[in-house]
Symmetry: C2
Subunit: 337 residues, 2 copies
Amino acid sequence: MRNKTILLASRPTGVPAQENFKFEEREVPELQEGQVLLKSLYVSVDPYMRGRMSDAKSYVAPYAVGEPISGGVVAEVVKSLNEQLPKGTVVLGNLPWQQYIVHSGKGLSHINPDIAPLSYYLGILGMPGLTAYFGLLHIGEPKPGETVVVSGAAGAVGTVVGQIAKLKGCRVVGVAGSDEKIAYLKDELGFDEAINYKTTQNMNQAMTKACPNGVDVYFDNVGGEISDAVYLALNKFARIAICGQIAYYNHTTLPSGMRVEPILLKKSALMKGFIVGDYAKDFPVAAKELADWVQEGKLQYQETITEGFDKIPEAFLGLFTGQNTGKQLVKVAEREV
Amino acid sequence: MRNKTILLASRPTGVPAQENFKFEEREVPELQEGQVLLKSLYVSVDPYMRGRMSDAKSYVAPYAVGEPISGGVVAEVVKSLNEQLPKGTVVLGNLPWQQYIVHSGKGLSHINPDIAPLSYYLGILGMPGLTAYFGLLHIGEPKPGETVVVSGAAGAVGTVVGQIAKLKGCRVVGVAGSDEKIAYLKDELGFDEAINYKTTQNMNQAMTKACPNGVDVYFDNVGGEISDAVYLALNKFARIAICGQIAYYNHTTLPSGMRVEPILLKKSALMKGFIVGDYAKDFPVAAKELADWVQEGKLQYQETITEGFDKIPEAFLGLFTGQNTGKQLVKVAEREV
């Protein structure tokens, strides 16, 4: 059985490239008692993986050079010597980028294919959806009538942030990088305003115009000059959730720029960094609420699905040039059952 | 009756100077029914006043050019047509820099001279003490065994922050600008470590050495490179209270420097700006606890008292060159009663 895997060939300096990845064929060993054979169906590619490609100390351990890259994968049990995971079960796990995986079954979550498409568990019902939920509701604490700005607004996290903020009765302004994304945010997702940062000459002016009552909550996926424009429009007691800083992920030194501290002081504002794992104990409640909103049609969801195992590195690299709208993932295989 | 006042002569560009102040003699008008005549005893000079000398939008209204500068003043009622404020009452108020003041009596707090020296109400029992209390306890939330770093450690706020942190069972590290201050923090106030930023070549190294278990709480009065060194030593879930940014007060443009956002993200850390007024509803509880600690001898307090009304501008300007240890104030007159 042909079984391809993708290894980290070398650590990137700056922007990652195809050469940092290496394809290899691996034998599928015989199943032992208790094990299952998983077939990868959907593989998630996420900006945070850039951090794991470096060996700098971070919140997750770095990938090892010469070993498979891993991340969120939806997979199907295609052979089973484990009663808990019969053939046909669909699971979500942190798994290697590999077509077939022999697995102990530990640490996998069962997926209910009746609630939503399988791929949703890598997005709105998975890590990105939970990230949006906790950053916005636990740090941002938006109140009806307040203005919420989200950067990276058309991404997997940003689209959920904006929609939840609308559910909470806020004015929602998104920042994204193409006219298609802007149209999608305003016309499909109901954002009140959206700013194309690539074609906007004066971000400060555009932000002030889009937020006539100032900014109360900022959900930041991006950093850099977009954030600076938001900072200048902050209201007293504003809350800023730092979720991503993609502007700096490929930096090789600590970034410099406008100091935010004097602004936080002047506005009595709060800024907090987080990763979704900080809220692990509240995952079940949040996942249930997200699933309800999806089933009730209150949250829309868009995916960019690239087809084919071989396209995984390309789909990942596209994250850094803004090619995806909504959650970027790769469909590796059809479900068998 | 000779009655001098100090006006804002002009707005400073960058560091303020004597020329921004102007002395003038003013008549003392006849008292009307309900009014009192106040005699200034102690005048507070504080770094935040620099902000009010500019006309930039800030959390407090700017001083008007040609009008008296105002701030915290302890004064004695020396004539009274107001039953609530008999002659001899000592009050605290936001009052002009003026020897005698005719006042309606509204918005003045009575001071109890039996609890502590009168000057303490401009410091440890007043705005600076409350600032330390709320920033450290409500934002920093220090837990026993954690490491707390405070910048501007020998100032009116910093000395109280460090001592409360010690009361809470923390390891306390101060940053200050002279060997005398360092000795005072360690030998008199019980700080575990103190760093003289003016003689330290490598702040990052010094901070790491002073905080072998990393930094859990940072109370920042200063900003700039001192903060950068603390940021690099932050622990996961660290809390940063932004109380002052004296490094930038005399800047004429928004300051640039190391971006803190990626560090807050990596450490799931919280940063919050505040002014003491944000916690106004909790003042009585805090003032009582501070007064108890002072009376029980648990909080030590040092003042730099300059003598003479004419020295007020000089005492204020000294704040920006680090000349004071503890709270800087000016004694204007003796109490009559």
